[in-house]
C-alpha cells in the first residue's frame, strides 16, 4: 500500500481542521515535505497486529471541592477580559 499523493488541497484541508491559517508559501513547502514524511510512515504497513494485554488500573479521586485559582489569577494571562470573564471573538 502506498500513500496517495498529497496535494495543496489536502494540506489546506488539515490546516483548516487544525485551525491554522497557513500562508501560500507554507502550503507549498508542506505539500512537498508531507509526501516524503508520509512515505516514511508507510513502513508501518509492515507491522503485524499485536495483542497488547495492558494491565490498566483506574485512578480515581473523591469529587470534593478544593481550593482553586481566584478569578483574577485565572484571567491574568488573557489578552482580553471583560469584568470577570474571558473575552473571545464572536462565535459566528
Amino acid at each position: 500500500m502506498t500513500t496517495e499523493t498529497v496535494n495543496a488541497d489536502d494540506v489546506r484541508h488539515v490546516a483548516d481542521l487544525a485551525r491554522i491559517d497557513l500562508e501560500d508559501a507554507e502550503i507549498e513547502l508542506f505539500e512537498e515535505q508531507f509526501a516524503e514524511i508520509l512515505e516514511y510512515f508507510d513502513s508501518l504497513d509492515e507491522v503485524p497486529a499485536v495483542d497488547a494485554d495492558e494491565e490498566l488500573v483506574n485512578v480515581m479521586r473523591s469529587d470534593e471541592p478544593h481550593e482553586s485559582l481566584s478569578q483574577a489569577t485565572a484571567l491574568k494571562n488573557a489578552p482580553e477580559t471583560d469584568d470577570d470573564y474571558f473575552k473571545g471573538p464572536r462565535v459566528s
Partner: protein, 424 residues
C-alpha cells in the same frame, strides 16, 4: 543572545524555601516546566509573555530541597526538535563544541550544566529530549520510567511518551536530583511508587561484575563510525570491569521511529488545540468569527516545525487515515514493548550509542525535517516502551562529545546509575 551560549530564555532567581540535599545547589529549569509568576514560554512566540499561576510539582520539590532556580532554559518550540534550533528565542550553542548545536529539545538545560551556569538541570524527554542534549554536551541525563516523576505543571506535547528528568555533570549528582523529584503526586494520576529501598544515590557503587549488558546491534551499526569506535571502547571497558556482554537484535526497532512520530504528532495535534489566544497566548483581537480569529492566532504564534507536527498529527487522526497511521503506530508500540520485555530476559541493561551522529553545526540540517527526525532513532524506542534510560559521556570524537545510552526495565533506574558510574 541573552546569556552565554543562549542557554536561558529568561534569567531568574527563585530561592529555595527549604533545607535539604540540594541546599546551595543551582538548578536550570526547562522552559516548558511551570514556574509561578516567572515567564514560561515553551520556546514559543505563542507564550512569549505567559506567566503560570502555579509551580510544577518538580519545581516545588527542588525548592523544598533547598535549591535555587537560576533560569528558564532554552528549548525547541514545545519540545519539537532535536537541536534547540526551532526555539523562537534563537538556538543554544554547545559549550563543549562551539559552533555546533547543543542538541534538544532540552538544549538549554544541558548547555547550562556543561557551561557551569547551573549545577543541575531539569529537562523533559518525549523521544530523547534529555538524552540527546546530554550526549551532545558531554553531561549525564536520565529519562525516568513513565510514571516515576510527576508531570503536573509540564506543558504537554505528547503526554503518553514524556517524562521530566534530571541532567547533571556526574552520575551521582543526576541520581541526587532524581531522588528529589521522583515519587507519587496527587496532581498526576499516572505517577507510581518505585519499589526502591534507600535512595538512588545509594545505588552507585561502580560494580558491574555480574551485570549482563546487551548491546543493541541494530542501533550500533546504524551509527557514525566515529561514534561506533568510542562506543566499542566503552563496552570493552565494561567487559574489563567484569560485565558480561551479549548481543541483542530487536526486529521491532526498525519501525520505532515512524511509530514514535505518528503517536507524538497525533498527541500534539490534540494537546496544542488549547492555544486559542483567548485564555493565554498571543493577543486575540483579530477580525472575523471565532474560527477565523483562532486560525490567525495560531498562524502567528506557532513556528514552522510546530505547525508541521500539528498538521501531520491531524492528518494521521483524520477520517480514512486513523487505521493506517495511528492504529498501526499503536501496534508498533506494543511490539517494541514486548521486544524489550524479551530482551530483559537476556540482559540486565541494554546499551547503544545515545546519538547515531556527532553534534551537527548550527544551521546544518534546518531545511530537512525527515533528516532531523532520523537522529532520534536510538532514543525513541525507550519512550514507546515506557522504560528508563540514561546517557553518560564516553569521551569525544572530532572535538565533540559522545554519549552512551543504557536502558533498564521499568523502575530499574538503580541499575542504570550503577552501570553508568562504572563508565565515569
Amino acid at each position: 543572545m541573552s546569556s552565554e551560549y543562549n542557554a536561558f530564555i529568561t534569567d531568574a532567581t527563585i530561592e529555595g524555601d527549604g533545607e535539604g540535599v540540594l541546599s546551595g545547589a543551582t538548578v536550570a529549569v526547562k522552559d516548558n516546566i511551570s514556574t509561578k509568576d516567572v515567564r514560561t514560554t515553551c520556546g514559543s512566540a505563542m507564550l512569549e509573555s505567559y506567566e503560570p499561576p502555579y509551580d510544577a510539582t518538580v519545581v516545588r520539590r527542588v525548592l523544598d530541597a533547598g535549591a535555587t532556580i537560576v533560569g528558564k532554559a532554552n528549548m525547541d518550540e514545545f519540545g519539537m526538535g532535536g537541536t534547540t534550533e526551532t526555539s523562537a528565542f534563537d538556538p543554544t550553542e554547545n559549550p563543549r563544541a562551539p559552533g555546533h548545536v547543543a542538541g534538544g529539545s532540552s538544549g538549554g538545560s544541558a548547555a547550562a550544566v556543561a557551561a557551569g551556569a547551573a549545577d543541575l538541570a531539569l529537562g523533559s524527554d518525549t523521544g530523547g529530549s534529555i538524552r540527546n542534549p546530554a550526549a551532545f554536551c558531554g553531561v549525564v541525563g536520565l529519562k525516568p520510567t513513565y510514571g516515576l516523576v510527576s508531570r503536573y505543571g509540564l506543558i504537554a506535547y505528547a503526554n503518553s511518551l514524556e517524562q521530566i528528568g534530571p541532567i547533571g555533570p556526574t552520575v551521582e549528582s543526576t541520581a541526587r536530583l532524581l531522588d528529589v523529584i521522583a515519587g507519587p503526586d496527587e496532581h498526576d494520576g499516572t505517577t507510581r511508587t518505585a519499589d526502591l529501598e534507600g535512595s538512588y544515590v545509594d545505588t552507585i557503587d561502580g560494580d558491574v561484575s555480574g551485570t549482563t549488558v546487551g548491546v543493541l546491534r541494530n542501533l550500533t551499526e546504524g551509527s557514525d563510525e566515529r561514534v561506533q569506535t568510542r562506543f566499542e571502547a566503552a563496552i570493552d571497558d565494561l567487559r574489563a570491569q567484569g560485565a558480561s556482554i551479549v548481543e541483542i537484535e530487536l526486529e521491532s526497532i526498525e519501525h520505532a521511529l515512524a511509530a514514535y512520530y505518528v503517536i507524538a504528532m497525533s498527541e500534539a495535534s490534540s494537546n496544542l488545540a488549547r492555544f486559542d489566544g483567548v485564555r493565554y497566548g498571543v493577543s486575540g483581537g483579530y477580525d472575523g468569527d471565532w474560527n477565523e480569529a483562532f486560525a490567525s492566532t495560531r498562524n502567528e504564534g506557532f513556528g514552522e516545525e510546530v505547525k508541521r507536527r500539528i498538521l501531520l498529527g491531524t492528518y494521521a487522526l483524520s477520517a480514512g487515515y486513523h487505521d493506517k497511521y495511528y492504529k498501526k503506530a499503536q501496534d508498533a508500540r506494543a511490539w517494541v514493548k514486548s521486544d524489550f520485555t524479551e530482551a530483559f530476559t537476556q540482559a540486565d541493561v541494554l546499551a547503544s550509542p545515545t546519538m547515531p551522529v556527532l553534534a551537527p553545526k548550527i544551521g546544518e540540517n534546518l531545511d530537512d525535517p525527515l533528516a532531523l527526525y532520523q537522529i532520534d532513532a536510538n532514543t525513541v524506542p525507550v519512550n514507546l516502551a515506557n522504560v528508563p534510560a540514561i546517557s553518560v559521556p564516553i569521551g569525544e570524537a572530532d572535538g565533540r562529545p559522545v554519549g552512551l545510552q543504557l536502558i533498564a526495565p521499568a523502575f530499574g533506574e538503580g541499575r542504570l546509575f550503577r552501570t553508568a558510574s562504572a563508565l565515569e
